[in-house]
């Protein structure tokens, strides 16, 4: 049986771990609400964007923007992967990467090249060991990601698409369903799926200032940026939720273990006292 000192040492070290995990849990719990608010605040922007880009495609069908044209053959695929900067959030990143790898291997079987832009340190660290081409990466978005932080990453992919370096673009991120559930989702970004808003049926056109092509370009770029921004915020909320849950489990486990070890310690102490007494009694009897 382990000695008393050994057990108290173990109890102490588990207690220290428990302090860390419970602190992390509390921090995440308080951040969830904030990141959820951020997530909801961007919804109107993306909704309006979708409406306008829908109107634009209705108003001027003869100008086809490159972003809406479907390519016949797909030889190169781009992914934007949204991950977290920090770990200790359960299987959140790993589930996401696994889903991504499964999707990628489907393309690679068809001999398509895969190109990536990674957001967050975890994706950068993971995919540098995978045989894919990383075009760009951004990390350190922090608690309040700004849309301007993402412009660079988005631009790399959009330019690759314009130059036909990629024929399809996907975004991979965790979808925040509720604090208990987060799902990895892979969404097609480019070519832009057609909008089937039938509100404006008649033939009409905008007055464009300065001109149709510039505006179409501007709107689609912003629309895509908006979608990616939203994915980043959703991933952030997922991160906090997943971390809270993982840390709660760890804290509970640590608590249980400490209780159990305490019991073992008490038993060991009791055993040694009993032994001492019986030794004394035995000694006295011998005299």
């Amino acid at each position: 049986m382990a000695s008393g000192k050994e057990i108290t040492g173990k109890i102490q070290s588990i207690g220290n771990t428990m302090k860390v995990t419970s602190a992390l849990e509390k921090v995440s719990a308080s951040k969830i609400r904030k990141s959820q608010n951020l997530m909801n605040a961007t919804r109107p922007y993306v909704r309006m964007m979708r409406r306008i880009s829908g109107h634009l495609s209705k108003a001027n069908p003869e100008i086809r923007h490159p972003f809406t044209i479907e390519h016949d053959t797909v030889e190169k695929v781009g992914y934007i992967i949204v991950s977290t900067d920090r770990g200790l959030c359960g299987g959140l990143n790993n589930n996401l990467f696994r889903a991504t790898l499964a999707d990628m291997s489907k393309w690679q079987e068809k001999n398509a090249e895969v190109k990536l832009v990674t957001l967050g340190k975890k994706a950068a660290a993971f995919f540098k060991n995978v045989n894919v081409d990383i075009l760009g990466s951004i990390s350190g978005l922090g608690e309040q990601p700004q849309i301007e932080d993402l412009i660079g990453a988005v631009r790399i992919m959009l330019e690759a698409y314009r130059d036909e370096e990629i024929q399809r673009l996907y975004i991979v991120a965790n979808e925040f369903i509720n604090t208990m559930t987060q799902n990895p989702v892979i969404l097609q970004m480019l070519p832009l799926p057609p909008d089937d808003d039938t509100e404006l049926g008649d033939i009409w056109d905008y007055i464009y200032e300065p001109d149709a092509k510039t505006l179409l370009d501007e709107v689609s770029v912003r629309y895509i940026e908006g979608l990616i921004y939203q994915a980043v915020l959703e991933n952030l909320a997922s991160e906090h939720a997943a971390r809270m849950l993982a840390m709660k489990n760890a804290t509970d486990n640590a608590g249980d273990l400490i209780d159990e070890l305490q019991l073992v310690y008490n038993k060991a102490r009791q055993a040694s006292i009993t032994q001492e007494i019986s030794e004394i009694v035995g000694g006295a009897a011998a005299v």
Partner: protein
């Protein structure tokens, strides 16, 4: 005939204004705009400048935008404002930054080692706890 027009002003971070307006003023790329209900469809880039919304009760709301897009439909005005300063050069610079970051990450395999190590230790401790818990449950059965 309607005397008001639905006006929505949004940025990527928040909904700035949403409501009825009797007139909306903004500075488009080609000049000042005054939009009344039943205006012809129009879409324009916005210059940095004020956007004024005249509400039916005579009050005026005043916003400053650093650029964006304005869309007009006969029954609604939508203003999408940029929170970022935009420009070909600025966008290009941030794209370059992202590329450089990717290269740095690929080249540098030791960066931010301390934090990573501490974190790895902690996650190991957590994993151990989970494993012990699992084992304990098994033993009980």
């Amino acid at each position: 005939m309607t005397k008001t027009i639905q006006c929505d002003i949004v940025s990527a971070h928040e909904e700035i204004f949403s409501g009825e307006a009797s007139m909306v003023f903004a500075s488009g790329i080609a000049g000042e705009l005054g939009i009344t209900p039943r205006h012809a469809p129009l879409i324009t880039q916005l210059k940095a400048g004020p956007v004024r919304v005249q509400q039916p009760n005579g009050e005026e709301e005043f916003f400053f935008v650093s650029g964006g897009i304005l869309e007009v439909q006969p029954h609604m005005v939508t203003v999408l404002t940029d929170t970022a300063m935009r420009g070909e050069d600025l966008d290009e610079a941030s794209a370059k930054h992202a590329k450089a970051e990717a290269e740095r990450q690929l080249a540098d395999r030791s960066g931010e080692k301390d934090i990573a190590e501490a974190q790895a230790e902690l996650s190991q401790a957590v994993a151990q706890l989970a494993a012990l818990e699992h084992l304990r449950k098994k033993l009980k059965r």
